[in-house]
Amino acid sequence: MVDVAIQHATQRLNDSCITIPDETVIEITDLILRNADTGQFLWKSLYKSDGHQVATRPINDFNIVQRVLVDDVASRPSFEIATDRKKSICLEEWAFRFGFVMPKSVNSWQSVVVSAETKDGDGKRETIDSLKGVDFVIDTLFYDGKTFLSKTCFRFRYVES
């Protein structure tokens, strides 16, 4: 049995440089991973907590993973997942344009991605064994047009139970 231990880190910029509607705060309140085949809940971030979190199943056991991003007022997020930042290996990268965002609103973006086939089926999906001890980072970057607003970082690590 393999468990997932998650070390959570965040980084925010000073809001004073942001030129979007008054009192706008960019804040991810939850990041949720779910098995989209069954709706089964896998993991939820605890944005304001410290320390490690443990989920009971390795995420890439599943064919389809559903990510739910809940945020307060955001524009043009771009997700990036990297296994090793020093080597700058980017596994996946995708962007989504929200367009107009209402002042003082709370919005959610749920992304369902169908994963690659397993390597047994000539696909590119990594195996659990190859990921042990490797840090995963999910970076969420927010832009207003071309202006960078903020970045939130979630760090994962697969460990033996």
């Binding site: 779910r34 989209a36 069954t38 709706g39 389809i64 559903q66 007022v73 995708w94 989504f96 929200f98 367009g99 107009f100 965002v101 209402m102 609103s105 709370v106 919005n107 959610s108 973006w109 749920q110 992304s111 369902v112 991605v113 169908v114």
Partner: protein, 184 residues
């Protein structure tokens, strides 16, 4: 039918498809989306902005936008109309006191240039409630039969238990596919 099954039925491999879900507050828009996503619908809170569900497979993308329906939010609806491939308008069939209000909001939407010719699915939601009125009665209240400049239909459903949603969504996907092939 879930959203992934819908994505697989889309023919527009090289294009993003955009479905907009609107309606008055408490009509059940977010519950419709959650039910289609196979999520728990027992705890749904009023939407204070928007909820987007984005499904991606290869080069195909389906984005479903649920915008809050409270009176203070409705003026912002027009900011989300661009490039809409289908409009789903959700109605609380048990809220007879607000039929006039929801009819007026729908009329305003159908007058928008950005929604010109966009297929319309009206979901007569909450059919599981005893005091709900039928799709035929809603159709009369909303004067749907006078709509002649776009494909439209009204379907009964209960977002809470998922009844009727598949039927409605299949109609939507058929319309998007036909539009992609040069139809209306």
């Amino acid at each position: 039918m879930g959203l992934l099954a819908l994505l697989k039925k889309l023919n527009r491999a090289d294009k993003e498809s955009r479905i907009l879900v609107l309606g008055l507050d408490n009509s059940g828009k977010t519950t419709v989306l959650k039910q289609l996503g196979g999520e728990d619908v027992s705890r749904v809170t009023p939407t204070q902005g928007f909820n987007v569900k984005s499904l991606t497979k290869s080069s195909m993308q389906l984005n479903v936008w649920d915008i809050g329906g409270q009176k203070t939010i409705r003026p912002y609806w027009r900011n989300y109309l661009d490039h809409t491939d289908a409009l789903i308008y959700v109605i609380d069939s048990s809220d007879q006191k607000r039929m006039h209000e929801t009819s007026a909001e729908l009329d305003l939407l159908l007058d928008e240039d950005k929604l010109k010719g966009v297929p319309l699915l009206v979901l007569a939601n909450k059919q599981d409630l005893l005091n709900s009125i039928s799709p035929e009665e809603i159709s009369n209240e909303l004067k749907l039969k006078s709509i002649c400049n776009r494909p439209w239909t009204i379907r009964p459903c209960s977002a809470r238990d998922g009844e009727g949603l598949t039927d409605g969504m299949e109609w939507v996907i058929t319309q998007i596919n036909e539009k992609g092939m040069g139809g209306l």
